[in-house]
């Protein structure tokens, strides 16, 4: 089947575009902030889904790429005075490079050992940056307000950041779909199902895993630049917060790992739930516990996630649910 004729892809893209254009049409900054959070989660969860959902390697410390990208980006913009565009590229490249090196080192580990190693990497990176003077050590980097001038002031810069995020998110959904319907993706899914059998059938597993890891790291690196540019400052504690990684995991599991649509639905659903919990007096302080319990319930009862469940239950929906 021709993957471009997959109606589910176009529906997903159209819905995401519609969601993204909503605040633009209404010109509402508050709404834009809400959608920003959702789109960011959609893009990050879709990225993580490549290594987690397609190749079956659970990266618990994926936020390390987001944080590293943010640091590299802010450093280049603040200290070297480079443009946001260069910073975005550099953030993506830095994350890709880290993933490539890590891939060679820790992707040999299987299952829980890999997951644990990714946590170790995240903690090591936090400790390193905490003591790395060019990146401001424990205090981090605060963006000089003048940097925003080049983008028509802070208010305009926020719209620019939002537009870039929307384009990136759409691109990521497309990439996720292309990978899933490619020979490369077939190799990854073979690895997920049985790595030894995949190797015997000729999948060059070390390479496939490394490139999947790199691919799932590039966008988080770029989005880190974007997010911390918008945020104005970055600190080690925030940049490498393990709970952010776990939230991404919850989103993917909620929507359905290994599907194109799953991380999109899961991220949107999770952020909607989180918004509700944060504004609710009872749950405000325990929203992370709720996320943890949610993850547990999904793994116990619907390990394939919402999209996976629907696909199994109603095979006729397969074309609509990529």
């Amino acid at each position: 089947m021709n993957p471009w004729r997959h109606p589910g892809l176009w529906i997903t893209l159209a819905l995401t575009l519609g969601l993204g254009l909503w605040p633009v049409v209404l010109q509402k900054a508050a709404l834009r902030e809400t959608i920003f959070t959702i789109l960011l989660s959609v893009a990050l969860a879709s990225s993580l889904n490549i290594i987690l959902g397609y190749a079956g390697y659970i990266s618990f410390g994926h936020v390390v790429f987001f944080g590293l990208g943010g640091y590299v980006g802010l450093y280049l913009m603040n200290t070297l005075g480079l443009s946001l565009w260069v910073a975005l590229l550099a953030g993506g490249l830095a994350a890709a490079l880290l993933a490539f090196l890590l891939g060679k080192a820790i992707l040999r580990l299987r299952g829980a050992y890999f997951a644990l190693a990714t946590i170790g990497v995240n903690e090591a990176m936090r400790a390193f940056i905490n003591n790395f003077a060019p990146f401001g050590g424990a205090t981090g980097i605060s963006l000089n307000f003048k940097v925003y001038q080049a983008y028509g002031g802070a208010a305009n810069a926020l719209w620019l950041v939002y537009t870039i995020l929307l384009v990136t998110t759409l691109a990521m959904i497309l990439i996720s779909h292309i990978v899933k319907n490619s020979k490369f993706g077939l190799g990854l899914m073979a690895i997920r199902e049985d790595e030894d059998a995949a190797e015997v059938m000729g999948v060059i597993t070390p390479n496939a895993k490394t490139w999947a890891y790199v691919l799932s790291a590039v966008l988080p690196g770029m989005l880190g630049v974007l997010f911390y540019f918008k945020n104005g400052n970055i600190e080690p504690g925030d940049a490498f917060r393990l709970s952010s990684s776990i939230e991404l995991l919850v989103m993917i599991m909620l929507g359905g790992a290994g599907t194109v649509l799953g991380p999109v639905i899961g991220a949107a659903g999770y952020q909607a739930l989180r918004g509700f919990l944060l504004t609710n007096a009872l749950f405000k302080n325990i929203q992370l516990s709720v996320a943890g319990i949610l993850l547990l319930l999904i793994i116990l009862f619907i390990p394939v996630g919402a999209v996976g469940w629907l696909r199994r239950r109603f095979p006729a929906l397969r074309r609509l649910l990529p």
Binding site: A190, R192, D194, E199, V200, G202
Partner: protein, 249 residues
């Protein structure tokens, strides 16, 4: 030309000598039967040939090339394919996708489109075409054995290693599978077959190698091997072995 040469291969697991000094040449286009009691080292020999375990000593040549210690994916791309004694379906992928993996990453390294065509051909050949769209995990054992076979064949290998593809099948399934194996050889593919279903392996093999406790205790045509006293001893000293085996061919 020899499609495979195994020379002086030794493989130990801790103190256990799973393979001791195994040596044989395999000319192209033959079916070589590999027999021996459980635990004799037959599967281990497959694992050494296809690179799952590097041997401690000895060498393996595939189509004249030294592949000792090469990774399984390298051998797959050179034209070696195998089935697993304990089936290893990619459960969450469809039967067709399973076979496409073989076609995409095997000797020919086909693109997805071509691989899908090859997969459908091969599935028809092993009579599994009706299951193509089903998830591999939902097949029964006999069907999973055919899937193993289809995946290996889709790679269009020069040499095919079959590890007990008849075990657990009923007599009519065995007959069907034996026909498939003959048809594979007719296509010019060399085959090594590990089998406990004696009448089948005697029937289908050009030559046999007998392993016992990792040692190569006999080698020759089915007639020669089944009359060999060491073979009879290895098989629980059944003096009527030769008679029984040849009777059923």
């Amino acid at each position: 030309m020899n499609v495979l040469q195994v020379s002086g291969v030794c493989k130990r697991f801790g103190g256990l000598h799973a393979l001791s000094n195994v040596t044989f040449d395999m000319p192209e286009g033959q079916i070589l039967g590999l027999i021996g009691p459980n635990g004799a080292g037959k599967t281990t020999l497959f694992n050494v040939i296809d690179g799952v375990y590097p041997p401690e000593q000895g060498q393996v040549f595939f189509r004249g090339q030294d592949v000792t210690g090469a990774k399984p994916y390298r051998l797959a791309r050179l034209g070696l394919a195998r089935t697993h004694q304990i089936v290893r379906p990619l459960n969450d992928l469809s039967v067709r996708e399973n076979v496409m993996v073989g076609a995409c990453f095997g000797r020919q390294g086909l693109g997805l489109h071509e691989a899908a065509k090859t997969a459908d051909e091969v599935l028809a050949f092993v009579r599994l075409e009706a299951r193509a769209a089903q998830l591999a995990g939902s097949l029964n054992v006999a069907q999973k054995k055919r899937l193993e076979m289809a995946r290996a064949l889709a790679a269009r290998p020069y040499l095919l290693l079959l590890d007990e593809v008849l075990a657990g099948l009923n007599p009519s399934e065995i007959t069907a599978m034996v026909e498939i194996i003959r048809a594979i050889r007719a296509q010019g593919v060399s085959v090594i077959i590990i089998e406990h279903v004696m009448h089948a392996v005697m029937n289908v093999s050009d030559r046999l190698i007998v392993l016992d406790y990792g040692q190569q205790i006999a080698e020759g045509t089915p007639q020669e091997v089944s009359a060999n006293p060491r073979v009879i001893e290895a098989y629980l000293g059944d003096p009527k072995l030769a008679e029984r085996l040849l009777a059923s061919t």
